[in-house]
């Protein structure tokens, strides 16, 4: 098998996986694409939407199609860090009692941290190490997390009472922030028909293996990018620190995320090079949760996406 065939085959497989997910998830093409990009770029995503828009179904379907182990954490104010990472328990054995580390739900390939802003800052912080270092430390021992590893956290933009807003240090660790919007009328009607008649769940086929996802992640890292496009991404991020309408700009981690996700998008589209369109398409998802809009711009009704769009012009 030639290298080109190898890469072509992987690109074909990721396209098939996307098609499989689309059979279960109606609409939301942009969100689905960005979710796959985040996986290929080996990052973590923050999904924000109102309840009932199929976030959990989407993430579960992605895990199912890609042969990744799925785990879900429902965050609540009384959730403890050990509930996520795991804890040592005393287990009776033939030789007596011994402490055994019981792995928590974070030990999975795809971890859905539902309503992450309802967990306490202490519990949220427990996810920091997992997200960034891909490892967990419990009872003085460090445990490697399975690869590939993704945390896909969701948060609800409404009903903010009793929630703990994620600190900037933690939101910065999410490579993308995806906004899941309501489907249009036709899509919603299709959803209703699909899930109220016939089978309870639309079956999907596994299209990718874990090793293939890791191979794709490696190829994405190897993808060349033109110097001017890389510079454009860096300059865009730097402009967020200088813009008058932005109180707090994005970090260099945003520059890296923008380039990396642009590469992943190029691979997802079957290309071997990054284009300016990739940068533009991913500027908002990469930057919207990393900047703080100035109160004057906020008073005028401008959002982070509006400011990013203005910076892109």
């Amino acid at each position: 098998m030639s290298p080109e065939q190898d890469i072509d085959e992987l690109q074909q497989k990721i396209a098939n996986a996307r098609e499989q997910i689309s059979t279960r998830i109606v609409g939301q093409e942009a969100v689905l694409e960005q979710l796959l990009i985040c996986i290929l770029a080996d990052g973590n995503a923050l999904l924000e939407s109102n309840p009932g828009l199929g976030k959990t179904t989407m993430v579960r379907t992605v895990a199912e199609v890609t042969d990744l182990q799925f785990s879900r954490i429902q965050n609540t104010p009384d959730l403890m860090p050990s509930d996520i990472t795991g804890t040592e328990i005393i287990r009776e054995t033939d030789s007596g009692r011994e402490f055994v580390f019981e792995k928590g739900p974070v030990f999975a390939n795809v971890v859905l941290a539902d309503e992450i802003n309802r967990a306490t800052p202490k519990t949220q912080a427990a996810l920091l190490e997992a997200m960034q270092e891909k490892q967990v430390t419990a009872a003085g021992e460090t445990y490697e997390l399975p690869r590939p590893f993704f945390i896909l956290a969701t948060q609800n933009p409404i009903d903010q009472s009793g929630t703990y807003a994620l600190p900037e240090a933690q939101t910065d660790r999410f490579m993308l922030k995806l906004l899941v919007d309501y489907p249009d009328y036709d899509e919603e009607r299709t959803i209703v028909d699909m899930y109220t008649a016939g089978a309870e769940q639309v079956p999907v086929e596994r299209s990718l293996t874990r090793s293939e996802i890791q191979a794709i992640q490696q190829l994405v890292r190897e993808m060349p990018i033109a110097d001017d496009l890389r510079d454009r991404a860096v300059q865009l991020v730097r402009r967020t620190r200088e813009a008058d309408d932005i109180e707090f700009g994005a970090s260099p981690r945003a520059s890296m995320a923008l380039v990396q996700t642009a590469k992943a998008r190029a691979f997802l589209h079957g290309r071997s090079h990054v284009t300016g369109e990739d940068i533009e398409a991913l500027a908002a998802p990469v930057l919207r949760h990393r900047i703080i809009v100035d109160f004057r711009a906020e008073r005028e009704g401008r959002t982070a996406d509006d400011l990013i769009a203005a910076l892109l012009e």
Partner: protein, 317 residues
Amino acid sequence: MDKPDTNIGENGGEEPPESERAQARERMAAAIAEVRREGKKAAFVYAIVDAVLLFLLVNILLTVLSPAELPTQVSVPAAVTDPVEAAVGRSVPALSFPTGAVVGIAIGVCWLIGEYLYRVRQPLVEQFEAANANVTDALRTARDAVEDEAETRMAARLYEDVLDGLKQSSSVALVDSRRLLGTLVVVILLSLATVQVAVVDIGLLDRDPVETESPNDRPSQYEGLEDGDAILGDSEDVQAGDENLTAEIDSTGGDEEIDRSQSFPSSDTEGPGSGSGTVDSQQAGFAGQEDVEDADLIREYNLRIRDQDTDDEDTDP
């Protein structure tokens, strides 16, 4: 719960040998060099056409307007002709050219160099991309990857993709044929207008009569030896004269009596030897309007005539 795979899996197939990737990079580097060459050619085509257009435009404008501030002809300076003369070993006739042509050529050459350098300084790969949509973004990415000496699998794939794309692209698109044709049409029209102006000798601005002074008419400041050929023209072979002419001169015989009377200025001193006859001095003279051809010869003739007269008186009985 299924135990997740904690091992990093295979990289999805065999990696191509490094030598193949290196070869792909070398082919890509050669292709990019070719793209740059094509870009330079296109830049030269644009520059030469524009320069010719500018030359014709300036030439015809200066010819028609004939500004009084500028001479109609510009002579080649001695700094140019002297080395040429020294090189060929003979004098070179003084050369001069119409001012419009000289200024037009100067501006055209400057424009040629300036536009060529300007166009070449623009990224040639990006220009090629702009003209060939099938390699947009990919070609410059490949260029940067080659400069970074990238030989990864994705880089090798990119090189192959771009090389395939280049097979379907053309450097002809680098040249905007519509613009080029438009310029050429203007060049042709200006050429025809230049010929017409040269024939009709149009002058739009008032100007003193054209100085038709030729280089030979100008006074020379040179005071040394002149070249004979330059003054008299080239030497020619002259055939020897073969026509014989017969000249006849009538004269009287020597025994013929000569009746003549001579008068000399009166002399108060009549000493011995003085003749009884009156001798009038006769001074040789010449017409005022006539030029004295040879004063010494005339003087000698006078002296001899006097001596002859004296002898005649002495021999008279």
